[in-house]
Symmetry: C2
């Protein structure tokens, strides 16, 4: 993972020590039935998830807001290391159909630490402006709440 | 390869039947010493090439114009099927550092046909505006001349 001055100003990062195995967290990020249980901070829900977990495979996650509005999120996996690392981007909606707006690449790492897992989610944007917009949209609170839900679910697996 | 109405207006395509094997054409696209011999239409030259040919591997090609100005082109491979298919993009300069401007994804296919190879190079842009700009910069003439040079070199391998 590159994290130079070139990317630092474009990154938003959440990192947390979670009392679950890397494998459990990886399952939560890759299995649709698990993803639907934790991915969106309540009162938002995830009503549909598809995950073709391989480089070039597509993902689709449909979130529903409190007022019933649905938000489909499409992406493509770029790098897959089972139980350790997952990279995907919204720059493509399938391999290799460009999306309307390349916004970010997400780099997830699951590292064994103190009997649990050091979970790090890095949202790397194409521009500093997009990073700021994402932060303003509530990245830290939203991803933080989702991480709480992720930790709670992973602990049961 | 997706080629729907969604992408057709964002694509520029060169296709040609070449009297060489898919393996020879693939070598020309992946081996730096070969790439330097054909990649830029004269009087432009390719003075340096690096190709880490695997998904997530980086490429660097430095072209030099007639007045001596150098133009580095960085990209990352997304899909690699030896002797058959190669996909790369300038949306990243390395795995996974976003470039300043995601411009295009290049999808190359090398298909056996009539004892030679059906060579297809598809430049897929993020926007129709970028496709038009690329066309205006001389895509068809430039890539056409390069394909002439590619065919001549591949025939000697």
């Amino acid at each position: 993972m590159t994290d130079t001055a070139d990317t630092a100003e474009r990154d938003l990062v959440l990192t947390r020590l979670i009392a679950a195995s890397p494998a459990a967290l990886y399952r939560c990020w890759t299995e649709p039935e698990l993803m639907k249980q934790w991915f969106t901070p309540a009162p938002w829900t995830t009503i549909h998830a598809e995950t073709d977990v391989r480089p070039g495979g597509a993902s689709l996650v449909v979130m529903r807001g409190p007022d019933g509005t649905e938000f489909p999120n499409r992406g493509v996996y770029l790098e897959v290391v089972p139980n350790a690392r997952l990279v995907f981007t919204d720059a493509y909606v399938s391999a290799w159909e460009p999306s309307q707006k390349p916004f970010m690449t997400v780099i997830l790492t699951f590292e064994p630490e103190d009997g649990g897992t050091r979970y790090t989610a890095r949202a790397r944007h194409w521009t500093a402006t997009d990073r700021e917009a994402h932060e303003g949209m509530g990245f830290h609170e939203g991803w933080g709440k989702a991480a709480d839900q992720l930790a709670a679910l992973a602990a049961t697996l």
